[in-house]
């Protein structure tokens, strides 16, 4: 029983969003005598004396399982790496704008998105989803961006004409296409959306 009691307490401490006090544990294991709980806790503490990545700490009168402080640099590195690697919402939106409106300049993207996109563009270029295809012959001669071959591969597209249109999606999935976007004026180009934002 002591072994399984210890296991239950370990699981509880591990999963709890807040440090668990002995009192709270006793309440969760209602009926379990206080001294049995304390004995199991003591044994658990001893277990966590072993070398390892995790430790059992007492914080604010409660218990918590966390990584050992000397390993915190690794944890930070992990978060840093993962943050770097991830395609954030901003990146995805920028990619979408480029995909549907290419070739397009950074100021034009910013105008559509309503925010500056300089950093995100760098990420997309680094990940080879987007490339520079020239300069636009306007004031400042800004770079024009377009999607890459790799972009097509990643999204399983044969070519850009394969990009889904809103009506496609609405039909396939039973979603409602937003009225402003669906009322098509496709005469202008192959673009899947009516362009109301940029002039």
């Amino acid at each position: 029983m002591s072994d399984s009691l210890k296991a239950v307490i370990e699981a509880l401490i591990y999963a709890s969003p807040d440090p668990l006090t002995v009192k709270q544990i006793a309440k969760l294991l209602d009926g379990e005598p206080q001294d049995a709980i304390e004995a199991a806790l003591a044994a658990l503490k001893q277990d966590y004396e072993r070398p390892g990545g995790l430790q059992l700490v007492e914080i604010a009168g409660g218990f918590r399982i966390v990584t050992r402080p000397e390993l915190h640099e690794w944890v930070r590195k992990l978060f840093h790496e993962q943050t770097k690697q991830k395609l954030s919402v901003a990146a995805l939106e920028t990619l979408a704008v480029i995909a549907y409106k290419q070739p397009i300049t950074a100021p034009e993207i910013a105008e559509i998105r309503g925010v500056n996109t300089a950093g995100v563009l760098g990420t997309l270029i680094e990940r080879r989803l987007v490339k520079i295809v020239g300069r636009k012959p306007v004031v400042g001669r800004p770079f024009m961006y377009a999607t890459t071959r790799e972009f097509l591969d990643r999204f399983g597209l044969k070519d850009l004409n394969d990009l889904p249109k809103v009506e496609d999606m609405a039909e396939v999935l039973g979603f409602e296409a937003p009225s402003g976007l669906a009322e098509a004026g496709p005469a202008e180009s192959a673009l899947p959306f009516v362009d109301e934002t940029v002039h």
Binding site: A11, Y14, A15, S16, P17, D18, R64, I65, V66, T67, H72, V75, R76, L78, F79, Q82, T83, Q85, K86, L87, S88, V89, L92, E93, L95, A96, V97, A99, Y100, P107, A110, E111, I112, R113, G114, N116, P137, V138, V139, G140, R154, F155, G156, L157, L163, P164, V166, M169, P178, G180, L181, F193, E196, T197, H199
Partner: protein, 262 residues
């Protein structure tokens, strides 16, 4: 439908009426209910019960989805083929059974139902495995990275839709924030003029597209005139306007610092 018949139907299908996902589900139910072999479906019996069921749904004013009617037609077709004597038994493959295709579909369907159940068991186990709370890690490493978006075409399109939706609701500003500053535009125009000494008024706008570019260029020109960097001449009342670069006089006004760049 006669009253007693109706009741017998109800008794035969003591399941919730809208319980069936589709015609295949209903068929499987009838087969199990009658304890018959799926490889040797008594087609007359099953077809009758199937049609009864659909009639019942109609009597109760339930929507009968098109798929149910398609299956009804299939059943009737199979039944008629079973009942009709074959014109020449030697001609047709003796192995061929009109029910065959239906049986295959039923079995495949049943398999996926079973697979779904097995998956659900896995899901239940997994849901019973708890992760550490985020708080203990964010204390160490700060805010957790956003979970990686597994980007597919749908998310791409949704993202674009979201951007356009936002853009529609954004109040329009007379000059977009992304426009180039007047100072920069002055520099550009001056460098152009240094190549040619003079140019037509229209030429100043040659590389501009969009309203904001026009405005910036015009403001730049006014500022250049004020700073005595250029002279502007017009030949005649309706003649072309030309812009000339000039050496900046000592007494020329100093540029006013752009409050935003200060």
């Amino acid at each position: 439908m006669m009253q007693e018949e109706f009741e017998s139907v109800l008794e035969a299908y003591p399941v919730k009426l809208d319980n069936f996902e589709g015609p295949l589900d209903l068929l499987l139910h009838l087969i199990k209910k009658n304890e018959v072999n799926v490889y040797d479906i008594p087609i007359v019996l099953i077809t009758k019960q199937y049609l009864d069921y659909i009639e019942l749904m109609r009597e109760l004013n339930l929507d009968v989805a098109g798929e149910f009617l398609v299956m009804a037609a299939t059943l009737i077709h199979v039944k008629s083929r079973m009942l009709l004597p074959r014109p020449d038994p030697a001609q047709e493959d003796p192995q061929e059974d009109p029910r065959e295709a239906l049986v295959r579909r039923l079995i495949e369907h049943q398999r996926y139902k079973a697979a779904a159940e097995l998956l659900h068991e896995r899901e239940t186990v997994r849901a019973a495995q708890w992760m550490r709370p985020d708080a203990v890690v964010t204390e160490i490493a700060g805010e957790a990275p956003e979970p990686e978006i597994e980007v597919d075409l749908f998310s791409l399109m949704s993202a674009f839709r979201a951007v356009l939706e936002r853009a529609r609701h954004r109040p329009k500003v007379p000059l977009p924030s992304e426009q180039i500053p007047i100072e920069t535009r002055i520099e550009q125009l001056l460098s152009r003029l240094s190549e040619t000494e003079a140019c037509g008024f229209d030429d100043l706008f040659a590389d501009v597209n969009g309203r904001s570019g026009l405005i910036v260029t015009f403001l730049a020109l006014l500022e250049m005139i004020r700073l005595k960097l250029v002279r502007v001449f017009q030949s005649g009342a309706f003649g072309p306007i030309r812009v000339y670069r000039r050496a900046r006089p000592v007494d020329a006004p100093r540029p006013i610092l752009d409050p935003e760049s200060a």
